[in-house]
């Protein structure tokens, strides 16, 4: 009983845990995002061929990088969970997976928005976009699988194993689709061409902002898992107390 109230206040942000710290972080990330957005729109030089539309690139590309960071966290969490069986790794895994899916969604949505004015098509089975689509389905399946297993420990173990298979599959997916495309070429939605140094700096700034969002979102989601755990424990205690007091 003592442990769970400690964990509840430590993880949930209930009185006892500085809400002010969370607020500062959120404001910091919001600021970073605002600066990044401003730079992407006004500071970065206009690209020669594509013009204004190319500015989508500053959020389109970092969203892929951030997604990979998120999925790397998922892999590490899965391996760590299988080794230590500490449920906190499971919480981290699902949080990073959900946020990763959000980032891939951003990429899959901004891609076509970029492509349409430039090439006149919404979608092309270009290597990166196709691979990203498979990536999206892969981790959505991971999340769906978790929803379909009730018992928390089984769910953690099984999804960890699936997560490892999925992560190992990623390079194979990218390579096979890339190689397929070299044999059967199609229009490419991409950046193409060399990068002006200012553009490079703005790109990194936008990536930093996205990583900030990543950290924030993962932490929020992690707290949800931690609270779920507390709720389950409390329910168990309540049921036990109910039985003891002879309330049958």
């Amino acid at each position: 009983m003592a442990t769970l109230s400690a964990s509840a206040s430590a993880q949930a942000g209930t009185p006892g845990h500085p809400h002010s710290a969370q607020l500062t972080e959120t404001l910091l990330v919001a600021l970073l995002l605002a600066v990044a957005g401003y730079c992407a729109l006004f500071v970065a030089p206009t690209e020669a061929t594509m013009g204004l539309i190319q500015r989508i690139f500053y959020f389109h590309v970092p969203s892929w990088w951030s997604a990979f960071v998120a999925f790397a966290i998922v892999l590490v969490s899965n391996l760590a969970y299988l080794r230590s069986r500490n449920p906190k790794w499971d919480w981290l895994g699902v949080s990073a997976a959900e946020v990763g899916v959000a980032f891939v969604t951003v990429g899959l949505v901004t891609g076509p928005i970029w492509a349409h004015p430039v090439w006149g098509i919404w979608w092309t089975w270009d290597a990166r976009l196709t691979s990203a689509f498979v990536l999206w389905v892969l981790y959505v399946s991971y999340l769906l699988l978790r929803n379909l297993i009730e018992e928390p420990e089984r769910r953690a173990v099984i999804s960890a194993v699936f997560g490892i298979f999925a992560a190992v599959d990623i390079p194979l997916v990218y390579f096979s689709i890339w190689f397929f495309r070299t044999q059967h070429p199609q229009p490419v939605i991409g950046d193409g061409g060399s990068l002006d140094p200012t553009m490079g700096k703005v790109l990194l700034l936008c990536w930093a902002a996205m990583l900030g969002i990543l950290v924030l979102l993962v932490r929020q989601r992690y707290r949800v898992e931690a609270l779920r755990w507390d709720v389950d424990r409390l329910r168990l205690d309540a049921a036990r107390n109910g039985n003891e007091s002879g309330a049958r």
Binding site: M1, S5, A8, A12, G13, T14, G37, L41, G51, L52, I53, R55, I56, F59, H60, S63, E98, V99, A102, T105, V106, V109, T110, I113, W114, H116, P117, I213, L216, L217, Q220, R221, R223, V224, L227, R228, D230, V231, L234, R235, D237, A238, N241
Partner: protein
């Protein structure tokens, strides 16, 4: 400026996806916090 609407649509989409996700997560968080309070109160009795 041509394509301005597409650029803005993209930025809006990015913001919207993160905002919606963050919103659903904080709603779950709030609901779970209420549940924790409720259960703790029930146990005290």
């Amino acid at each position: 400026m041509k394509n301005l609407d597409s650029v803005l649509a993209a930025y809006l989409a990015v913001w919207a996806i993160f905002f919606v996700y963050q919103f659903t997560v904080s709603r779950r968080l709030a609901r779970l916090q209420d549940e924790v309070e409720r259960l703790k109160g029930a146990l005290k009795r």
